[in-house]
């Protein structure tokens, strides 16, 4: 073996293996800590169930509140699960190895975010139809809400990843993360919950869902770069 540099893999051939490595490993780790995931989903269910107890079980009120409550609970569930994205790897030294890998960090980070959404946002969206039974929402509202959650929860994971990387290893990182990330979540909340309102007002949800979709595309393209930069800053 000589001391020459090993040939760096070509750009096209590294993104897919990097994504695959990150998604496969993070999913495997999540499945082995199923209990932790279950608890986070249970938190989501409990929060949703608490709101009617604080107001009134009157059906019209519940139906009006429903989409908003489910969305806020989805935001909180996302916040609760975000530390899992990088903190575990940071604590055992794996994040350093990820940053030093010849694979592009942006691709590895994107894979981790995708795995995070599959284990957090996707279950939230899938549970929504069941939970909206508690809020006396009609079928069309439920369908629109679920579609909005499917489009919006990935945005929550993508934006949240930036906050999670910026707050790695800091004191009170959980509350700090909430302060940093919740303002960024506001547009997702507005358009996501607003989709159901629009349908009920007879305006159709296509505008809201298109805006969410556009936001998702922009987030997919831009957020991993910011998150990767933040990871490198945290390792400095």
């Amino acid at each position: 073996m000589t001391a020459d540099t090993a040939t760096a893999p070509t750009a096209a051939g590294v993104v897919w293996p990097a994504l695959r490595w990150a998604v496969a490993r993070d999913l495997k780790l999540a499945l082995r800590s199923r209990g932790e995931l279950g608890v986070q989903l249970l938190f989501y269910v409990i929060v949703v169930s608490l709101f009617p107890l604080s107001t009134s079980p009157e059906r019209n009120l519940l139906a009006t509140m429903g989409p908003g409550v489910l969305w806020v609970a989805a935001l909180l569930a996302s916040l609760l699960s975000l530390p899992r994205l990088f903190a575990g790897d940071h604590a055992d030294g794996t994040l350093e190895q990820i940053a030093l890998s010849p694979y592009p960090l942006v691709a590895l980070v994107s894979g981790k975010i995708l795995a995070h959404w599959l284990t957090t946002g996707l279950p939230v969206a899938v549970l929504a139809p069941l939970l909206s039974l508690q809020y006396a929402m009609d079928g069309e509202s439920v369908a629109v809400l679920t579609a909005a959650l499917l489009l919006g929860t990935p945005i929550l994971s993508l934006l949240g990843a930036i906050g999670a990387a910026l707050t790695l290893g800091l004191r009170a990182s959980g509350s700090l993360l909430a302060l940093l990330v919740l303002p960024l979540y506001v547009p997702v909340l507005i358009f996501g919950a607003g989709a159901v309102d629009a349908v009920r007002a007879g305006l159709g949800a296509s505008a809201n869902l298109s805006l969410l979709g556009a936001g998702l595309l922009v987030a997919i393209v831009a957020a991993p770069f910011a998150a990767a930069a933040a990871v490198r800053i945290a390792l400095d």
Binding site: D4, A8, G93, Y103, L105, D236
Partner: protein, 204 residues
């Protein structure tokens, strides 16, 4: 060839070290010693490209290497303070995962052979959670043997290793040097490398 020119590091308002220059050629090992807090880990992380130096330049094969330089990353195998193992994965799975992360395609057989070579055959399918510190360190050693990288950077590699483990470490690193590789290691205890290949550097 790894070269450092006038490297400086700060911690808070004090300088850890300034004006540090050295050169490591193929087949040589830079062994960094010094009391606690003198900047050994800081230096190694700078050389690996994780931190930017406060001053000075690092060159790999003649070309300047900024933090996270791709050419340096592709040539590097870094073993930090922590063994980078996931508690939920078995020894075998951890090793395979770490090697795949470096873009090396190591089949199941080579992973098992590597674990056999570090005397972890019986612990292959145990989750890392139940392994001792020394055993976790050995997985890190096995990882180094599976990565054909010219530059090895090892932070306190003897930590938690028993006598047999330390001897294994010395053998593996010496073999790497004999094949023309370079190594940089920070250590408190002697590594047992052939003196002819060692360039000592003391900080503080």
């Amino acid at each position: 060839m790894l070269e450092a020119q006038k490297l400086a590091a700060r911690r808070g308002f004090a300088n850890l070290f300034t004006g540090l220059s050295f050169r490591v050629e193929a087949g040589e090992a830079l062994v960094v010693t010094g009391a606690n807090g003198t900047g050994k880990t800081t230096l190694l992380r700078m050389l690996a490209g994780l931190s930017a130096p406060a001053d000075g330049e690092i060159r790999w094969n003649g070309r300047p290497a900024a933090p996270f330089d791709p050419a340096l990353r592709a040539a590097l195998a870094f073993a930090g303070h922590l063994p980078a193992l996931k508690d939920e994965l078995t020894a075998e799975e951890n090793l395979a995962s770490l090697v795949a992360l470096e873009g090396e395609a190591a089949g199941r057989e080579s992973v098992r052979d590597a674990l056999d070579n570090v005397a972890l055959s019986r612990q292959r399918t145990l989750p890392a959670r139940v392994l001792s510190q020394g055993q976790r360190r050995r997985i890190g050693l096995a990882r180094m043997t599976l990565l054909p990288r010219p530059l090895w950077i090892l932070d306190e590699p003897v930590t938690a290793l028993d006598a047999a483990g330390a001897e294994l470490l010395a053998r593996i690193v010496a073999g790497h040097l004999a094949k023309g590789g370079l190594a940089v290691a920070a250590t408190h205890a002697p590594l047992g490398l052939p003196a002819a290949r060692v360039r000592p550097l003391t900080l503080g």
